[in-house]
């Protein structure tokens, strides 16, 4: 029963990953892709949670922590690049 729950969680996360990847490819603008990247980082944290439980290797939680922080830095860096840089959508 517990294995079924783990499999279901992995399957749902994979479905969400496919949907997020579709938005990453589709665009239509660069900020939309950044939003998709941020969702994919949260999804990876979910995958790590399932893996930690199914394998019992608790040090991987530290990986999830670092991933959360680097995803934040990436999003802020992208936002800053968009605001200060010369990238514009409508001209």
């Amino acid at each position: 029963m517990f294995e079924i729950a783990l499999l279901t969680a992995n399957g749902l996360l994979s479905l969400a990953l496919v949907l997020g990847f579709w938005r990453l490819l589709q665009g239509p603008t660069l900020p939309d892709r950044v939003v998709a990247l941020e969702l994919i980082a949260s999804l990876t944290i979910g995958f790590i949670a399932v893996y930690v439980i199914s394998s019992g290797r608790t040090p991987f939680i530290d990986v999830a922590m670092v991933l959360a922080l680097t995803a934040f830095l990436a999003a802020v860096g992208f936002a800053r690049y968009l605001e200060k840089g010369g990238h514009r959508e409508n001209d």
Partner: protein, 131 residues
């Protein structure tokens, strides 16, 4: 019992992640997509880390899981705000059925400063004229 609770947290968290991804695909413009992915995505990841904490029931694991949730809750709104602000400045189009854009014309595109709405000054001017 612990396995049941863990499975419940994992599946419900993953379901919220699917809701977030569906919102990312189906919502029509950037602010709505941010709204869907930030809230539902953080809730999903947080529930899955709660599942990890419940399953191991160990002090160190629980502390680290709570730290992950804390970092998520602290950073996700800031990142969403930064992306939304940057998206507004680079001119990402809003949904065509949007009724109002209250920032339109009040943001200086070069200096990124917000000016007060003109209606707030008009009553004072009328008072000065009547005296």
């Amino acid at each position: 019992m612990i396995e049941f609770l863990t499975g419940l947290f994992l599946v419900v968290g993953a379901a919220f992640m699917v809701v977030a991804a569906l919102g990312l695909v189906r919502m029509p413009d950037l602010p709505m997509r941010l709204h869907a992915t930030t809230k539902a995505g953080v809730l999903g990841a947080g529930l899955m880390m709660v599942g990890v904490a419940v399953y191991f029931g160990d002090g160190g694991v629980t502390t680290r899981a709570v730290a992950v949730i804390g970092f998520l809750l602290l950073t996700a709104p800031v990142a969403a705000h930064a992306i939304g602000r940057a998206g507004y400045f680079v001119g990402v189009p809003l949904w065509e059925n949007s009724k109002t854009d209250e920032l339109k014309g009040r943001y200086d595109e070069k200096t990124h400063t917000l000016s007060s709405p003109p209606e707030m000054h008009e009553p004072e001017d009328q008072d000065d004229a009547s005296r």
